[in-house]
């Protein structure tokens, strides 16, 4: 069954037809901006995969097919909100002012990729780094949203996870608690149909993952995750509700993971190629482009120019990534504690000596 074709909260269908009147916020210029961001996301993603294939980046989780969700969420968040991302959230993080080179830095094996210090991005300086252990970020988000409520600010937190995460206790404990505590928190599930090799139907018997909200006593909505208008619309509504003190919302955004799980995965081992080909008919960029062309606000010429600009922008980010000097090896000790316990000084010194030996006498 192609769940992407089911009726759900949707404005633009997979052929780019408007099937429901656009919300008030959705003027064409805004949609062109979203479209450009989504194209940039894809150009970046292709480049990141290429960097991994050529040995210039570590294991990387592709965002192919998740562009609408990432950009919608990133644009819906206000600078005063707190974002708690998962590892397929480069697009939303980029919207928060975190440069693409930071994402490359993280997947390139450098902890500084999660340092969004105020000078790097004032917007994201309170945002959490993404969690590799699945669904753990959901409980942190409950803590963040509780802190916002305790501190009495009209801010909201938003946490993202995948469909696989909704099987985990952490997710269920979190939506349950968010309901009980009436905290300003929005859960967005990128339901891309696959938890590595386990398809959605084997993960959960519910028709929609948003139904889990019912047991938590919070509203749950399923939206077309390939329709940036639908995702943005649901997200700003849920965030506004949260900021007004009306509590948490669960948004299930249905998409499709057009890529392997990560560059270390080979989806042809477990996934039918026909299914993937069908999914390409529903992907988020194709439909928005068709819609904008139909509206007469986007043309092939602009497309070519924008593609070129995206490539330039991505290349500049890659250059910045390549030019980042390594951290000194002993920095592994320098952020363990506020100040290093006495007993670890000898280990740190030993590490410096070892690294000098391995570098042939040169240090740093």
């Amino acid at each position: 069954m192609n769940v992407q074709a089911l009726p759900m909260h949707r404005f633009i269908d997979h052929d780019g037809n408007l099937i429901s009147q656009l919300p008030n916020w959705a003027d064409l210029e805004t949609l062109v901006g979203f479209y450009q961001d989504m194209v940039l996301t894809r150009v970046y993603d292709n480049k990141a995969v290429a960097l991994q294939r050529t040995g210039k980046l570590g294991t990387y989780p592709s965002h192919l097919g998740a562009e609408a969700i990432g950009i919608a969420v990133g644009q819906a968040l206000k600078s005063s909100d707190v974002f708690i991302p998962y590892y397929r959230d480069m697009a939303a993080m980029w919207c928060r002012g975190i440069g693409m080179e930071k994402n490359l830095q993280y997947w390139g094996g450098d902890e500084r990729g999660s340092d969004f210090a105020p000078q790097g991005s004032p917007i994201a300086s309170r945002d959490l780094p993404f969690c590799v252990p699945i669904a753990t970020q959901c409980t942190h988000a409950v803590g963040v949203a509780s802190a916002l409520k305790i501190q009495g600010n009209h801010e909201a937190a938003l946490v993202m996870c995948g469909d696989g995460a909704t099987s985990k206790g952490d997710f269920l404990e979190s939506i349950n608690c968010a309901g009980a505590w009436n905290i300003p928190l929005v859960f967005v599930v990128n339901n891309n149909q696959w938890a590595i090799s386990v398809p959605r139907r084997l993960q959960c018997a519910a028709e929609f993952l948003s139904e889990k909200a019912k047991g938590a006593g919070i509203p749950g909505i399923t939206v077309d995750g390939n329709d940036v208008v639908a995702v943005y619309d649901a997200t700003i509504t849920a965030l506004e509700r949260a900021r007004k003190g009306k509590g948490a919302t669960l948004i299930e955004a249905i998409s499709y993971r057009l890529s392997d799980h990560t560059t270390a995965d080979d989806a042809t081992r477990y996934r039918n190629e026909d299914e993937v080909q069908t999914a390409w008919q529903y992907e988020p960029i194709r439909r928005l482009k068709a819609f904008l062309i139909n509206q007469g606000i986007w043309h092939d010429e602009q497309e070519l120019r924008w593609q070129e600009q995206c490539k330039e922008q991505v290349e500049l980010a890659v250059e910045r990534y390549f030019n980042m000097p390594n951290q000194a090896p002993e920095t592994g000790f320098d952020f363990l504690y506020e100040s290093l316990p006495q007993e670890l000084h000898a280990q740190r010194d030993a590490l410096i000596n070892k690294s000098m030996r391995m570098q042939g006498g040169k240090h740093g």
Partner: protein, 327 residues
């Protein structure tokens, strides 16, 4: 000055710090109106309200994760796990996130949280209520691990733990929660988190211990003294980092090391103390270092519990063997 039990001293420290730092919040199961199953948080919700003393749903992983999230946003959460035996669901949050937040973000975000849990056996509790697993946390980079063993030290160490800008695992020896009463000065003075406490001076043997075993160790020292053996008794208190300097200083005098802990022997913190002594203080020793510890078994149900608990006599026998066998 009031005479308080250890658990009352914990409560006093929480009152003091909540009074003086509005960012301190408590969370856990039954910590609110019930005041905690051991009454460690009694009176706090009434005084500071439900926004700062938070009854969580019955979900330990959630408690761990929520504290991590709160701590990243400027609060100082003190999370209670009802028993150390119930901490396992939260291990992912403690190990993967609390202990790593500073490192993962290169110092941008930190986790100034305290995770409290009563631990240890000897109170005839049901299954899963008697564990001593401080070594799990001592093995994990990023934590400080603290075990108080007197009311005043519970007060001072908990203040220090709450004020620490790094996550602290704070394990309270529940067997002596109410057995000792002593004067506690509510002076807001924190004790150091990297120093052990010499409770008794002695020239013949160094007993290093922590938690409830401090009681039997001090009793053993008295018995030994009656038999002409003077034991120095050190309360380790800080399980991580370890104040080896004080221990080695004592060994310079005694030359004999006996470590006493309730946790299992293999890979227990005693093993680390013996290893460090072997690596750095071998030449100070007159006798092979020794351990009196819990068994490498599951804690038995309570009918046989006493056989597995460390008795004063166990310590006396081991100490005499070390002193009399190695003149």
């Amino acid at each position: 000055m009031a005479e308080l039990t250890l658990v009352e001293a914990v409560n006093l420290a929480l009152h003091h710090e909540m009074e003086h730092d509005p960012n301190v919040v408590l969370l856990g199961e039954d910590v609110g109106d019930n005041g905690g199953v051991f009454r460690a948080t009694v009176g706090l919700k009434q005084k500071y309200g439900l926004k700062r003393v938070i009854d969580t749903p019955l979900a330990e992983a959630l408690i761990g994760g929520v504290a991590v999230g709160m701590a990243t946003q400027g609060l100082r959460p003190v999370a209670e796990f009802q028993f150390q035996g119930f901490i396992s669901p939260a291990m992912e949050h403690l190990i993967c996130h609390a202990a790593r937040m500073r490192n993962r973000t290169r110092g941008r975000l930190t986790c100034p949280a305290v995770f409290r849990a009563p631990f240890g056996g000897g109170i005839h509790a049901p299954e899963h209520h008697s564990e001593s697993v401080e070594a799990f946390f001592a093995h994990t980079a990023g934590f400080k691990v603290v075990v108080p063993s007197s009311p005043q030290r519970a007060y001072g160490l908990l203040l220090a733990a709450i004020r620490s800008n790094d996550p602290v695992m704070f394990f309270e020896p529940k067997r002596i929660y109410r057995t000792v009463k002593s004067e506690v000065v509510d002076n807001g003075k924190a004790l150091p988190l990297d120093t052990c406490f010499t409770l008794r001076k002695g020239r013949d043997i160094t007993l290093v211990t922590w938690g409830a075993c401090v009681v039997e160790s001090l009793q053993a020292a008295q018995t030994l003294s009656n038999q002409g053996i003077e034991a120095e008794v050190i309360d380790l208190a800080s399980i991580k980092p370890i104040d080896t300097a004080t221990i080695f200083h004592s060994l310079e005098k005694t030359g004999r090391l006996l470590v006493v802990h309730e946790a299992s022997k293999t890979c227990g913190v005693g093993a680390e103390l013996l290893a460090r002594t072997a690596e750095h203080a071998m030449c100070l020793l007159k006798a092979p270092p020794k351990r009196v510890t819990g068994m490498d078994t599951v804690m038995p149900y309570y009918r046989n519990e006493d056989y597995y608990m460390i008795q004063e006599q166990d310590i006396v026998l081991a100490a005499r063997e070390l002193v009399e066998g190695w003149k």
